[in-house]
Each structure stands twice: as structure tokens, then as C-alpha cells.
């Protein structure tokens, strides 16, 4: 508890909790809509934006958000157009975005720590502004889900049926992917690229099989990722490890544990669905 007397520790904790809510809600939708690969693409393509901002001397966060919004909407377009090859095209954008970022950084004189902080995160160096921006994103995301819940549910479970019911699936998906891009950059700023993907996928994966509906899955995922974040931070403080990696390892340990429990259960009761 003595760790909490430091402001950076309190900010780190706050950032971790806000990221947990974002990841719990967005991660749930990402997992049930099978958009994990797209999220990875958005996160890596965002690198192009960081490089561009550094090279042109533009403010990093707005440039990155703009860049990844553009990339994500382009990917969304690709997905609705060439569905059967969407994964390949996302893979290309994924690599190109990163390469663009690296070349821009090469062209920028001097060593830049910003790029590293986006890769591994800088949860211990979160500013108040970052926290406010994350909170704002959280409000947007939760507002979107709360207002459009039945449409989102219909689109996620059975897109064809949603279209028959004349739910504007196309527009809904664009808004969702746009919000995802903003959320991913916000979370990345704090916990890093690698942790974004881990927190978006691991908690929802564990929560999915114990939840009877999406809302419960979102809440369970948020709680799980908060638990991972807090215990990871504690471990990193006690053993002087890097925070992002500690959080991921705690999450991964629970992931394997839950898989093990499942296997054990299905052996004892072969009739239960996996």
C-alpha cells in the first residue's frame, strides 16, 4: 500500500482501471465479432501515425488517432468489399503501417523515446491529460454500447438477421471500428501495443464461457483485466520488473489455468459443450 503514496503509482493504477473498462467492453465485442486480427492491424498501423507525427513535428496523440482512424476505416472497407481475402489485406496494412512508422523515425534526427513508449507502454509515466482522454474515450465507448445495445447484439450474433430486421449494420460497424481505433490508441499510449492485444483478448476469452450474455461478459472481462493489471503492477513494483510484461504474464497464467479447468471439466462431463 505504501506504493500508493506516489502520484505516478496512483496514476498508473487509475490508467490501468480505465484501460480495463475500455478493454472489457471493446474486447468483448472484438472477440465475439472475431475482429482480433483487425485490432492487431489497427494497433500496428497506428505506428505509422506515430512516426509521421515525430517526423513532421505534429502533436503525437491527435496524429496517431487520426492515422489509425483512417487505417481502420480503410480496413473496414476492405472487409465489407473483399471478405474472403480480408485477413490477407489486413496483414499487409499491419506491416505497411509499421514500416512507414519506422522509416519516418529513421528520417527524424535524434533518438526518440516516444516510439518505444508506444511499443511497451509507459504506464508509470501517465499524465493527467492522458487519464482525462482515456476517461472520455471510456464514456464514448460505454455510451455507444448502452444506447445501441440491441443493434450491436443482433449484428454480433447474426448479421444476416440484423440486416433482415433493417438494422443499419454497415454504419454501425463503421462507428464501432472507428471507436475501436480510438480506444486502441488510447490504451496503447498507456500500456503499450503488446498489452493492448493481450488485454483485448485474454479477459473476454476467459469470460466468454462463463457468461450468459454480452453485458455480463463485458463486466466480467473488465473485472478480470482490472485484476490482471493491479496484480501485475504490484508484482512489477515489488520485484522491480517492467509493468507491461508483468501484467501480460499474470493474464497469460490465468488464461492457461482457465483452459486447464475447462479440460478437466470436459473430461469429467463429456456432454458439456466446450
Amino acid at each position: 500500500m505504501e506504493a500508493l503514496q506516489f502520484e505516478f503509482m496512483r496514476n498508473a493504477l487509475m490508467a490501468g482501471l480505465l484501460a480495463s473498462v475500455l478493454c472489457g467492453v471493446m474486447g468483448t465485442l472484438v472477440v465475439v465479432n472475431r475482429l482480433v486480427f483487425l485490432s492487431g492491424g489497427i494497433a500496428h498501423a497506428a505506428y505509422g501515425g506515430i512516426g509521421m507525427a515525430l517526423y513532421l513535428g505534429w502533436p503525437v496523440l491527435p496524429t496517431t488517432v487520426g492515422f489509425s482512424l483512417g487505417a481502420s476505416l480503410f480496413m473496414a472497407g476492405v472487409m465489407s468489399g473483399a471478405r474472403h481475402r480480408a485477413d490477407t489485406l489486413i496483414g499487409v496494412l499491419w506491416a505497411v503501417g509499421m514500416a512507414v512508422g519506422i522509416v519516418f523515425v529513421d528520417l527524424t534526427p535524434g533518438y526518440n523515446t516516444d516510439l518505444m513508449s508506444y511499443l511497451f507502454g509507459s504506464i508509470l509515466a501517465v499524465s493527467d491529460t492522458d487519464l482525462w482522454l482515456m476517461a472520455l474515450t471510456g464514456v464514448l465507448v460505454c455510451g455507444f454500447v448502452a444506447l445501441q445495445y440491441d443493434w450491436i447484439l443482433a449484428m454480433s450474433y447474426d448479421e444476416e438477421f440484423a440486416r433482415v430486421r433493417r438494422v443499419p449494420v454497415q454504419a454501425l460497424r463503421l462507428v464501432f471500428i472507428g471507436l475501436l481505433a480510438v480506444a486502441v490508441v488510447m490504451i496503447m499510449r498507456v500500456v503499450g501495443l503488446i498489452l493492448v492485444i493481450a488485454l483485448l483478448t485474454i479477459p473476454p476469452f476467459i469470460a466468454e464461457r462463463y457468461s450468459t450474455d454480452l453485458v455480463r461478459m463485458m463486466i466480467a472481462s473488465s473485472v478480470l483485466s482490472a485484476a490482471f493489471t493491479v496484480s501485475g503492477l504490484a508484482l512489477s513494483y515489488v520485484f522491480d520488473l517492467s509493468s507491461g510484461a508483468s501484467i501480460i504474464l499474470v493474464a497469460a497464467a490465468c488464461f492457461w489455468f482457465s483452459l486447464g479447468i475447462d479440460r478437466f471439466r470436459s473430461q469429467r462431463d463429456p456432454s458439456s459443450p466446450v
Binding site: 465475439v32 448502452a146 444506447l147 445501441q148 445495445y149 440491441d150 443493434w151 447484439l153 443482433a154 454480433s156 450474433y157 447474426d158 444476416e160 438477421f161 440484423a162 440486416r163 433482415v164 430486421r165 433493417r166 438494422v167 466468454e208 464461457r209 457468461s211 450468459t212 450474455d213 454480452l214 455480463r216 461478459m217 459443450p273
Partner: protein, 269 residues
């Protein structure tokens, strides 16, 4: 080809396809399909696999846009009236891990155009559950959809379609994966529903065709409409295109209701 049973009925057809063509990857799936269904028709759509049956349903729903031809559904353009159609798709085995209860799947039928309704009221929920009750599935309302058997899921999907209070019901092989008793119950239910709604059902089930439906449409890229529900040689050709020496289709029929099967369709004479 018009339905001639009610020549004095001036009512506009609820489903009207005129020379509809559709291709998928330059392979023609539907060629010059013309079909007209009147209110309270009960039509079976039969044909071989790949004959375009599911595609035809999707054209009616506006999920795919034909290359050419005219489509009018319930007096409007396809896709603009799809919320008035109940659709029971074939693929009930998709997304089995999705965390959703049976009750929520059925409530999805209440989602509609206009503003999203956020959370459903208790009354709306109970209305949705009434359709679940009708299919004898109410005791499964709280279970996860993935825990049910294929036949049970089929019924839940029909309940979802009924919750939309449709004017037309489109079913894509609704009895696949259902046991004989369940099938019989489903036919009886469809017949009862037909008192209030037009039904178009994709089926391979000759028993159902010969005893329940009012008319038959054979689809193998081209559509052939039969105003009466008898099984003709031509239908057998469409459904079981086989050369001599292979399994004789007539034998398949002989186990059913031969006296009906052997009737000749007036058009063929």
C-alpha cells in the same frame, strides 16, 4: 405462370419476382426467375443442392441484389420491407460459443428499423417468450443457445422469426436435424400459421409437400411453378436428376403416399 386457383383475386401479390437473374462469381445462380405469391399462399421450394433456393430467399429478403429483373415484396422494394418477413435461416449451427440465452435470441426478433430500443420492456420480452412457448421451448429460455441440440435450435430460430410478427414466413429447410415427431409437429404448426401468413419453405421433404403445402416451385437455376401440390415427374427430375441405373427416384416416393404421387399435373398433359 400465375396461380390459377383463385382467378378472381385481384389482390396484389405479396412476393413478385419478374425475370430475376443473379450470378455469383460469373456463374449464373438464378436465370429469368418469375414467381408470384399471393397472400396466404403456402409454397414449397424444391430443387437440387446449388440450385439457388437459398439465394432466391435472399433475393426476396433483399440480402443480395439481382443482376437484372424486378423484385417487389409486400408492395415495396426488396430490403425495404424485409422487417415484415420472418426468416428462418438454414445455418443454425453458427456461432455456438456466443454468450447469448435462448430468450435473448428470440427477443432479437423485436429489434427493428428506426432507433435502437436499447433494453426491452418486460411486456415486450414476455411477448417474445410467448412464441417460444408456442414451440414448446419455454423451459429452455434461460439456457445458452449453444447448449441446445440442432433441432431445438431450429425451433428457437422459428420462434425468433415469429416474434417479428411477420406477414411472410421464409424457411430454409426447417426440418433438417429434427426427428420424425418434431417434423410432424412443425408441419402442423406451419399449417396453423398459414391461416395468418404467407409461407415459402425450402424443403426436400416430399411428405410435407404432398400433404401440407398448397403449391410447389421447382428451382434449378430456372424456376417452375406448380399451382397444386402434387409431385410430378418433372419435380423428381429436378430433385433427383439421375441417369438410368442409379437409384430410381420413384422407389423413393413409393414409401410415401403413392396415391398422391401418381397424380398427373394438368400442365404436364
Amino acid at each position: 405462370m400465375k396461380d390459377m386457383r383463385e382467378p378472381d383475386n385481384a389482390e396484389e401479390p405479396v412476393v413478385e419476382l419478374d425475370n430475376v437473374c443473379f450470378s455469383f462469381h460469373r456463374r449464373p445462380v438464378l436465370e429469368n426467375v418469375t414467381l408470384s405469391l399471393k397472400r396466404l399462399d403456402f409454397t414449397a421450394l424444391i430443387g437440387p443442392n446449388g440450385g439457388g433456393k437459398t439465394t432466391l430467399l435472399k433475393v426476396i429478403l433483399g440480402l443480395v441484389t439481382p443482376r437484372s429483373g424486378r423484385v417487389r415484396i409486400l408492395g415495396g422494394r426488396a430490403g425495404e420491407t424485409s422487417h415484415r418477413i420472418g426468416y428462418v435461416p438454414q445455418g443454425v449451427d453458427v456461432n455456438l460459443r456466443f454468450p447469448i440465452s435462448v430468450a435473448d435470441v428470440v427477443s432479437m426478433g423485436l429489434t427493428g428499423p428506426g432507433l435502437p430500443r436499447r433494453w426491452l420492456s418486460r411486456r415486450e420480452k414476455s411477448a417474445a417468450l410467448a412464441s417460444l412457448d408456442r414451440l414448446g421451448m419455454e423451459r429452455h429460455a434461460g439456457r445458452r443457445i449453444g447448449e441446445l441440440s440442432g433441432g431445438q435450435r431450429q425451433r428457437v430460430f422459428l420462434a425468433r422469426a415469429l416474434a417479428t410478427q411477420p406477414e411472410i414466413l421464409l424457411l430454409d429447410e426447417p426440418t433438417a436435424g429434427i426427428d420424425a415427431r418434431g417434423q410432424a409437429e412443425m408441419y402442423l404448426l406451419l399449417r396453423e400459421l398459414n391461416e395468418r401468413m404467407t409461407i415459402l419453405v425450402v424443403s426436400h421433404d416430399l411428405l410435407m409437400i404432398s400433404t401440407h403445402v398448397k403449391s410447389v416451385a421447382c428451382l434449378n437455376r430456372r424456376l417452375h411453378y406448380h399451382g397444386q401440390a402434387e409431385i410430378t415427374d418433372e419435380m423428381l427430375e429436378t430433385m433427383y436428376p439421375c441417369t438410368e441405373g442409379e437409384v430410381c427416384p420413384v422407389e423413393l416416393i413409393a414409401h410415401g403416399l403413392p396415391h398422391r404421387v401418381l397424380q398427373h399435373h394438368p400442365e404436364d398433359e
